[in-house]
Subunit: 205 residues, 4 copies
């Protein structure tokens, strides 16, 4: 019996470390999308500085996606803390979620090279929405596998923030990603609604 | 004695995590094969949308290979759950299997850039066959190393499905990979035959 | 209670292995920046040798950055040894630190292709300064999370050495990175000042 | 006391998994060096087949380097099995060894694109020699850190085989890597000499 448990834990470890590896690779591959300028042998400092700063949009996309993927990794990390045992039903939701993570380097490169264009901005924001939805689905699966004591699935804040970004794309494509910061607002709202629901549930008892 | 066991387990951990890392990298590298369009400064939304959707075949190849490698990873995961101790004889079969996994990004890129062409379709489907055969061999090795209680080696479903894909390549190259879905059918058949064999073995006793 | 501890440890494991993966990928991606010469079918040995040695600056940048990232990994390793439990407050400082690590392949490629140019040299040295500062911040966070017995945060030696490199960039850009070797000097100085401070603190008691 | 041991083990785990990650990435990056042919829309099967088989040298280099790095990983794996506790003195030898591993994708790409040329063949074989020497040095360091019961450092077989390859480069560059197979011979010789030395040492007692 104890052996079976241990085996279950190694299975969970593998799932978790496989996910971590995909996160880590996706986040580190982002840098490959930044174009490395080849300076001519003779060039003024001003010109070479401009060739460097021309990559500005790519730097922005790198920092943005690093923060986004990092934020999602933290969510994954917190979600799986509640989990004690491996559950076969986690496999495909987690795999689909990782597929969305692994897609981010493309969305990032497409955005970084064409910042402000409608299509790349939309592709990026829709990628974030898909990611948020898959994260939410995974959170539900983990909660179901964790047993009664588990915290409720969250992640609604990211979904709403991604929707805000998509809305902004139709108005100011260039600034649409800043909509992600509204996630802080939705997270606060989510917690307040949740604690109110808890309070009224306790009052009803 | 106990120390030796622990050492054996760390050896097994290393083998497993090394394999996981190769899987994770192979699956994440797939995205690098999707060409990132550079849009001109002035371009209509329709044109930039077309430049994006031109990558359709690469997106298809990305999703397909992610699912295939993901499916093989789950098989590897399930196979190694039965294993309690490290076994030196697992080394080369596992290494050859990982070589076939690491080759998939090439087969995927070749397919994605030339979807529907006979040669890339054949190369992709033969890669899946080789992968299935090596997975089957590895499953046998793991079973031998696991001791009497281990589940029987499976994986015949993937081998037959890959053969179906190869057959389809000669008829409709473009659709040949859909043959992988027949694996669901073969898996069901395999389980039925296996349980019938078990039943008759029990009756003979 | 014990379960919570175990969960905390798996959380710490994930944080540590995620960081290790980012370090490992960043350090291995460096090699992709070295241009691989395509030799014509007929070429003298002297000419093909020259085409190989033309990559000299890239080889230098590869070895330099491997040593730098390796050195920072060792610091991260030593720092986290003192840690017993996972702490949520480590998350963002560690993530920002990893972002600086993941940026190094770009700084390395930019340097390797344009060795001796002022701007790439400055970008590289400033990257090292940012890395050192984030490492120092992380070291403080780890110390706060480790409890009273933890060794003091160090890393001042790397900060000062990076400043020396930046200073050298304005004088001899080509040789500015050698300023990193002065870190050995500052480390010795730091230890001497620290033990003197400890001695006088003990005398005061 | 026990806590310190556990900390030592986590340190060892990190060192080992960091090394595994570098091995896994280096081995999986090899595939990126194979050029992916872009077929024109209308092309005969024979022509597209030729465009595929033109990558033959790259496939050879991929398989060769996968086997070489895989073989070195197994050596690393076996060597570290004997180790019970983390030792600070392992850090730099292991890091230099990983640098040589991380360099292999370049040597492989250079070889694969220019198979049979003297310079790339020499660069590849010298890389293998350097790798073998660093592996031997690391093996000695691990042995010193493992305590009295540890198996003797081996790896002389790989050093001699790499020297054979270098020698062959001056005669038949194209076939020089096959010299690695002589490692099987040297390994047998090494074991025989070692057991004879053991026997005479036992007789002397």
């Amino acid at each position: 019996m104890k052996e079976q448990d241990t085996s279950g834990d190694l299975s969970l470890d593998r799932l978790v470390f496989f996910s971590d590896a995909v996160f880590a690779i996706a986040v580190t591959l982002l840098v490959l999308d930044i174009h490395v300028p080849d300076l001519p042998r003779v060039i003024s400092v001003a010109d070479s500085w401009r060739m460097f700063t021309d990559q500005g949009p790519s730097f922005f996309a790198f920092v943005l996606s690093f923060a986004v993927i990092g934020r999602f990794w933290m969510g994954h990390h917190e979600r799986f803390r509640a989990l004690r045992h491996f559950d076969q039903r986690l496999m495909w939701p987690n795999m689909l979620y990782l597929m969305a993570i692994a897609f981010m380097p493309f969305a990032t490169a497409f955005l970084g090279r064409n910042l402000g264009h409608f299509v790349p901005e939309l592709v990026y924001n829709v990628s974030m929405l898909v990611l948020s939805l898959l994260a939410y689905w995974l959170a539900w699966t983990v909660r179901r596998a964790s047993g009664p004591g588990a915290p409720p699935a969250d992640g609604l804040d990211m979904i709403i923030a991604a929707l805000v970004c998509i809305g902004l794309t139709f108005v100011v494509p260039l600034l649409s990603q800043w909509g992600m910061f509204t996630a802080l607002l939705w997270a606060r709202l989510e917690r307040r609604l949740y604690s109110r629901a808890n309070a009224s549930a306790a009052a009803a008892r």
